[in-house]
Symmetry: C2
DNA sequence: GTGATTTACTTTCGCTGCGAAAGAATCGTG
DNA sequence: CACGATTCTTTCGCAGCGAAAGTAAATCAC
C-alpha cells in the first residue's frame, strides 16, 4: 500500500499501457485515458483499480483548472506517485562524474559531482558506489541506477569501447551492481539523452523524432515509432564522415569539411586559434562573433551554414516531426540562428512542411538525467532492452 | 466457394493478418505462420479454416522441397488463390497511357499501352475506361483499378495538381469509377512504386526502407514500420532543392548543384549537349562515358559522385535497412557503380553497417504495376488510405 | 431550493479470441 | 511394424474487452 512495487513486471499489458501513459503524459482522467488508449470507460475502471491499490497511481485534486465552464461531474485525474521512489543517473566524463537524483517523472531533485582521479574500472565503480551511498542517505527508496558513458556500450551493461577512458569490454553494470545492490543500466550517453527526450522531453508522443547534439563531438539519434533506432557507429564517432562542405576547414578531428570539423566545439576553437593565435573559450568566440570580430564571425557563420545544411538534410531524408538540437554547442543558435534557418529554408522544398526545431542547452547534469531515465525504463518496462 | 470475396472487409483482424502474411510472403505452412504472427498452433487452425472455405486461401502441394531430410508429418503450405481475381494498373504520362493486368500477387499477366492524345480529364477517363474494357475481355474478375500520375494526389482520389497534364483538382478516381463501375485508386506515381516495392518487392518485410528513383526527376519514398511516410512535397519536385554540390552544374530544372541538376536524365542530357553541342539519348551518353569520351565521362562521373553522396546522406540520416534505386536512370550504376560505392564509403563511418543497395531498372509498365498494387491494397485492407 | 441536464465513473454481463494440452494424422527410422 | 518427430485439429477454460445500465457529482434553469 505504501511502498512502491519493485518492478512493474507483474502488471498486465493493459495495466502497463495505462501506467506508462499516465507517467509520460502527466495527470490524466480515466475518460481521457480511455480516449487515448482507445479503450472503453469500463475497461479503465478495471485497469486503474489495481494500480491505485498497489500505490502506483493516485487520484489527485483537479489542479485548479480555471476553465470551469464545463458542467457535469468533474473528472478525477490520476497521477503516478512520482516521489515514491528515486532514480540515480550518472554521466562519466574524462575527469568528472556528474550525478543526479530524479523522481519517477524524471524531475531532478538533487545534483552532485565529484572529480574522477582514476580510469581504473574498479575505482570508477567504487566512486560511483560512494556517490550512490551519499545520495541514498537523503533519498531513500532508490529504485535503479543509470550510467551514461561516451563510447560503445553493449547490451546496456558492458562498455565495449570507450576511447577517453581507455576501456574495452568493461562490465560496468555488473561492477556497480555488486557494490550497490541496485539494478544498473549502462548506455551510450547520446543514446541515453535521446531516450530521455523521447519519454519525457521534446520528443514525447512523437512518431518520428531526431536529436542532434553539438558538443565535444556530434551526436545523432533517430527515433521511429517511439523507439530509438540503434546503430553501430554510435561510438562517439558520429559526424566525422558527414561531409558537409568538401572545401571546408581541416581540423585535428574529423574529415575535411565534416560536421565535426565545422561544428564541434574543439574544432571551432581550433579554427579560431589557428587564425588569430589566441585560445578562447567557445562562449568567448560566440561573443566575439556577435561583436563583429572578423575571424570568429567567419568561423561562426560557416558553422551556422553547416548546421543549416545538416538540419535540412536530416529533414529531407528522415522526415522527422521535430528536431531537437542539444548539447553544449547550441549557443550557436542564439548568435547565428537566422543564418541557420535561412540555410535550412534554402535547401528544403518551398512546399515542404517547416521543420519544428527545438533548442535545448544541456550541461553535464542533463546528460546524467538522461541516464536516469534508462533506470526508469527498466523499472517500468521490466527489461534492460529498449 | 469458387468466386473470391469482393473485399476482405468481413475478415476479422486475426484472419486478415494471416491472409496478408500469406499474400506477401508466399506459400506458408500453418506452423510457419504461427511463428511469424506469434500465435499458437490452435489459433492458426481456427483462423485459416474460414479463409480456405471462402476460397481465399488454398492448400498447395509442397513445392518439391529437395531437402526432404526432415522427418515427421510434412507441412501443408497455404497460398492465396492469386489467379482468382485480377487488378489493373495504369501509368499516365504526357503522351501515353501504360496499363498492366496483375494477379493478387502482383504478377503481371498482361501489358498494354495506348497513345494519349488529349489532356482533357473526361477524355483521359474515357481512354482509361476503354483500355479497361479491352483488358477485361481477356481477364474477367477484375477487382480494382490503380492509377499512377506524376503530381500531387489528394486522398488517393483527386489529382490536386499535375504540371505535365495541366490539371488542378481533377477527381480522376470518380471519373473512371463511374465509367467502369470498379473501385479506383489514384496515387502519385512514386508513392505507388514505393508501396509496390514495400509489399511485393525489395522492401518486403523491412521496417525501414528507402526508394530513390532517378528518371525525368528525382523521387524519394521513405517507409517506416511498413508504412510509407507521406509528405507534402511529393509533388514531382523532390530533389530540386537537395543541394549536393553548391558549385555543381546549372541546369534548366533544379537549383544549381541539386540532385535534379546532377542526376535527372534531362539534366544529364542538357549538360552533355551544352558541352559538346550534340544531343544524345541517356543510353548513348552512358555508352560514350564508358568508352572514355571526355565530356560525357566527366558528366557521368560527377553524377555518380552525386548519387554516392545522396545515398550516403540517406543512409546516415534515415538509417534504412535497404535502399532501392529505381527508375529509368539507374543505368548509371552499371557504368559507374564503383564510383558510387566508393563515394558512399567515403562519407560513411568506417564502422557503420554497409548499406544494402539494390538496383532495379524500371520501365513505364513497372510504374503501372505499382499502381495496380494500390488496388490490391484497397481490396485487402478495405480502405483507400494506407 | 429543486429538478433537469450533463459529464464521469462503476457494475454487470456476455462474447471474442487466445493459449494449453491432449489427440489425430503422417512422415521418416531402426 | 513399432517408435519418435512433426504438423495439424479439437477441446476447454479463461483473460480482457465492450455494451449497456446504473450511480455519482457537478452545473443550469426556473
Amino acid at each position: 500500500m505504501t511502498t512502491v512495487a519493485a518492478s512493474w513486471l507483474p502488471l498486465s499489458a493493459g495495466e502497463r499501457s495505462v501506467a506508462i501513459e499516465v507517467l509520460v503524459n502527466g495527470p490524466l482522467s480515466r475518460t481521457e485515458l480511455a480516449r487515448r488508449l482507445r479503450l472503453s470507460a469500463g475497461s479503465l475502471t478495471r485497469l486503474t483499480k489495481p494500480l491505485i491499490e498497489s500505490g502506483l497511481l493516485e487520484e489527485v485534486a483537479e489542479a485548479g483548472t480555471p476553465a470551469e465552464g464545463r458542467q457535469g461531474r468533474p473528472s478525477q485525474p490520476l497521477d503516478v506517485v512520482a516521489e515514491a521512489c528515486s532514480f540515480l543517473g550518472f554521466k562519466v566524463t574524462d575527469d568528472m562524474v556528474y550525478g543526479v537524483v530524479t523522481t519517477l517523472r524524471s524531475d531532478v531533485v538533487a545534483r552532485h559531482h565529484r572529480p574522477l582521479t582514476s580510469h581504473d574500472p574498479a575505482e570508477v565503480a567504487d566512486l560511483l558506489a560512494e556517490m550512490t551511498a551519499e545520495l541514498a542517505r537523503e533519498h531513500p527508496h532508490l529504485a535503479g541506477i543509470g550510467i551514461g558513458v561516451g563510447g560503445l556500450v553493449e547490451g546496456r551493461a558492458v562498455v565495449g569501447e570507450s576511447p577517453f577512458l581507455h576501456w574495452r569490454d568493461v562490465p560496468l553494470a555488473a561492477l556497480v551492481q555488486e557494490r550497490t545492490g541496485l539494478p544498473v543500466v549502462v548506455e551510450n550517453d547520446v543514446a541515453a539523452l535521446v531516450e530521455a527526450e523521447t519519454w519525457f522531453g521534446a520528443g514525447r508522443g512523437l512518431d518520428r523524432f531526431v536529436v542532434l547534439t553539438i558538443g565535444a563531438g556530434i551526436g545523432y539519434g533517430l527515433v521511429l515509432g517511439g523507439k530509438r533506432v540503434p546503430c553501430v557507429e554510435e561510438n562517439r564517432g558520429f559526424g566525422r564522415h558527414w561531409i558537409i562542405n568538401p572545401n571546408g576547414p581541416l581540423t585535428p578531428d574529423g574529415e575535411r569539411g565534416s560536421a565535426v570539423s565545422l561544428l564541434a566545439i574543439p574544432s571551432i576553437r581550433y579554427q579560431v586559434r589557428a587564425a588569430t593565435g589566441r585560445d578562447r573559450t567557445y562562449e568567448e568566440i560566440l561573443a566575439a562573433a556577435s561583436a563583429g570580430e572578423p575571424m570568429p564571425a567567419r568561423v561562426v557563420d560557416e558553422a551556422a551554414r553547416a548546421l543549416g545544411t545538416l538540419v535540412a538534410q536530416i529533414a529531407n531524408f528522415a522526415m522527422p516531426q521535430k528536431i531537437l538540437l542539444a548539447g553544449e554547442g547550441v549557443g550557436l543558435m542564439d548568435v547565428a540562428g537566422n543564418t541557420v534557418r535561412e540555410t535550412i529554408t534554402a535547401q528544403r522544398h518551398p512546399l515542404a512542411a517547416p521543420v519544428p526545431l527545438e533548442t535545448k542547452v544541456s550541461d553535464f547534469h542533463d546528460w546524467a538525467r538522461g541516464a536516469a531515465v534508462l533506470a526508469i525504463q527498466v523499472l517500468v518496462l521490466g527489461t534492460a532492452e529498449a
